[in-house]
Amino acid sequence: MSQTNRIKGGLIDRNQVMNFTFNGKAMQGHAGDTLASALLANGQRLVGRSFKYHRPRGIFTAGSEEPNALVQLRSGAYQEPNTRATVAELFDGLTATSQNHRGSLEFDLMAVTDLMAPFLSAGFYYKTFMWPRAFWEKLYEPMIRKSAGLGSLSMEEDPDSYDKGFVHCDLLVIGAGPSGLSAALAAGRAGARVVLADEDFTPGGRLNAETLEVDGTAGADWAAQAIAELAAMDNVRIMTRTTVYGAYDHGIYGALERCTDHLASSGGKPRQILWRIYSKRAVLAAGSTERPIAFGNNDRPGVMLAGAVRTYANRYGVTPGQQVAVFTNNDDGWRTAADLAANGVAINAIIDTRDAPAVCDVPGARHIRNAAVVDTVGRKGLKSVTLTDGQVIPVDCLAVSGGWSPNVHLTCHQRGRPTWREDICAFVPGADLPPGMAVAGAANGSMTLAAALTEGRAVANAQIKALGMTPSRKAAPKAEDEPRDCAPFWHVGESKNRAWLDLQNDVTVKDVKQSYREGFRSVEHLKRYTTLGMATDQGKTANIPALAIMAECTGKTLQDTGTTIFRPPYTPVPLGALGGRSRGKDFRPYRLTPSHKWASENGATFVEVGNWLRAQWYARPGEQGWRDSVDREVEMTRNSVGICDVTTLGKIDVQGKDAAEFLNKVYANGFAKLAVGKVRYGLMLREDGICYDDGTTARMGENHYVMTTTTANAVLVFRRMEFARQCLWPDLDVHLISTTDGWAQFAVAGPNARNLLRKVIDAGHDISNEAFPFMGCGEVTVCGGMPARLFRISFSGELAYEIAVPARYGNSMMQVLMEAGKEFDAVPYGTEALGVMRIEKGHAAGNELNGQTTAYNLGMGKMVSQTKECIGNVLSQRPEMLLEDAIKLVGFRPVDRSQKLIAGSHFITKGDEATMANDQGWMTSVAYSPSLGHSIGLGFIKSGDTRKGEVVRAVSPIHGTEIEVEIVSAHFIDPEGERLRA
């Protein structure tokens, strides 16, 4: 196919030939073309099928408002559906395919739906697929899913990468058309930090699509000069291919930059960037969008918006047809006729709904006054139009103009409501703009070029003044006021055939009227009932005519009818761009423990604990599964000594003269009298009396404490302590800083723990049981002078210490401990063995401190002091929380020791039915105890503390299990604590 519709002129580079295919057909275009302009150049009028009726459709617009020409670009994993051909830049090698048809584009098997149109009116789905209910899942839903949607996904992972970015400016100018350029020039010249963003790849807006002049030069040339001047300013940043899609609070704007969509390959660079633009002020210069007039069969390929037709001619050197007619209700439509005629394209007729004289002289064109198009002929391409008086005019392109609507969208993103201006037949921005925003040019209803240029400068200067800067004195660029008269005319009442309003969603005039008849009269109801204004184009061309028809039905004014609320995004934003880099293994940051390297070299399997990767167990050759490894780690620890990296526990350095008083307030138990060199277990409550976190706090010096928190709550506890410090007790001298990452901390547990540590702790530090008893702490040195902290605390129930060294020595410390431990057969253990040992010992952890349980439930009720001020103690005494039959934490063992307990099982008294009413509590943690040789569990059961020895049933309906369990002490191992005090 050759470029039969190329005409002279345009901003394309004819020396650069771009080869591309459409549905496999080889075609050529030029640099500067969009896919749409290249398709039109090649005479390709039919480009897709409509959503609902599968009607043949062609290119309708020349911009981001396109409702029809949605195509699939690229192939394989790069395939992207629902791309607007009107904004897709042509590149060499582009492959495009049409979508939403079964069989070929020309012979779509689904076109049968068009014949069923009388049954498929608005609300069809709501009414039809209601019954019978059983049909929904098996029949209706699969059928609808199959026929719904437009393009198809590749179903492969997106191979492109995406990025985000942050830009700051004094003034954001949205749109680089005449008013935007004028505004940016004014602000740039005043020295403000300016960002000028435009969705197009060539800035200039309608100056590139018109033959109008600015300052005596062609509009497109003036725009290029303006861009060159702006580009030379250090304080101005021009962002092309960048759509500002949303106006958010306090001057923040969202923008999508398409970096590599115009290239055959992204070359490994981010395909798109989602920018967050922080602006002190903004000028919205988003221009306006032309709207159609509804008449019978107005959706045929070849029926286009008039402004788009002249854009193709003036900017791209393409005529969409050889025999063109214009159908307009305003002066602007005439310029399309004039521009095409000037390019030698035959203009057969100018059909003006107004009874008014010719706006300009168009050679060869018949001026038909006070007339309208009532119907068209040509299923896959327009052949002729029929006027209200019955005359038939042969044309292959009809340029339609129903007037222009200012692009007010971003003015409404913070609930602004546009107001109707009768003189220009359009909604313009209301008074309630987002703070900091001003609007200029066509977006503000200043429709002529001269007005846009003047207003752009004036609005920018006002913003510059508001920023406390001095505006430039340079005058606004000059242009003439082109004729812009417009007379409201929305649809041709005489049309008997379907007259389309929303081409993307196949909503017709009849559908709007039906919506009215059935009571869906508010614009929001109209939208939901008919799907008007939904999907990728958000009704940019369709909404206003449809609202006008609803206004006719209701007899209200357009002002009173109003618009639906515009919300971000202005044009579609790919989910990939919103996700940015956060995908796959980069979904979130990861944290490594200091001994991670050693662990990964020594067979560790890692588990995610929040962002941390922790060693879960260390498999040895020959072990058949994780249980083998975990059982061995527990046994070797309890028999001799084991080592575990516990760095992930939160560490908070607490210092100050009032540190003791402060800790006494944030912990429920007493901390006022903890001696230097001692550690104490601490329990934190929420203000409502529920347990929040626990840990140990060591008094390292007179005014110096080191607190540990659980791994999960490290950040939350710190935040809460800062709240207490700043908001509740602001005059305590206490200072907090996290040292979690600063110290590599290892639990050394087991009967040989002291013997092992004696080999690495420098002589002179006495760690005998007498000198360094259970719950002692202190500063020591290891390996010849390395500062270290030693805590005699035990989570496993064994004789145990935790030793901390500066984190950068942590990996080495793990090696040293293992080397020194060789003679004791020391074993590294992971989080699983840690968990098994704490269950054997009966220590509560996250499963028990689950945000629902109290100290009373945990058997620690007496720890909650009532003789001091502390968080949570008052509400912990509410009667409901101290009931006699409250749940209590106890241990459980299966009556049949070979049975395996299941966490989450609920307890039912023997003989009772397993119902919620008979629920006695639940199993929180279970483990196989290598020390006891059977499964054990911890759990909460009503009055558990007084029911030891009783047998109840642990029921798990999910697993279909029911196990008899005996209530026992939670302390399965060494209940008297002899080992840890040894």
Binding site: I273, R591, H735, A763
Partner: protein, 202 residues
Amino acid sequence: MSRPISLIRKGNVCVPDYTLTSAPPLAGTDITIGGARLTAPADLAVVSIALPLGGEAAAQKAIKTAFGTALPEVGKSAIGKNGARLVRLGRDQAFVLFIHATPDAEAVVAARLKGKAYTTDQTDVWCALEISGPDSRAALERICPLDLHPQAFAVDDAARTSMEHLGTLTIRTGENAYLLMSASSSAGSFLHAVETSIKNIN
């Protein structure tokens, strides 16, 4: 970066020589891509200083004596004796950054402040990257929500923020140079975030 701690004797018994070696997570990083270079400063010690409530004036005086420069305003840093950099993070909190290889940085600072302020060793809490070169600001623009324009963030300015979900302290150390500090445990993710930013602008 290996720094052995010497052989020791315990009493009269000769014990095995257990030696701890230092392995900071980003040690040795030196990457140049286009107009930006990314390096990990060696032996950067970080010690936090907290001003006691009611003892702020005495603490500030002690700081000035110790480092030869006054504690700067919040959001600023100042360079004192021997290149030590004081960074004011909040009303009552500051960091001092200095080159110091051995793991006793906190003791050194505490000794100089003579008990007039509370000190905590933060050296291993953080990892640091210096990004330098003409593309530095453009690269940081991809992850840093702060306005790093010279008018808004001058040399020696300092601010904390979040980059790619990681808390980061940024200090402008030169016209085209920034010191970035983030949590040491997530150093790998942090390096990846900054390096990706540089790659993405080239």
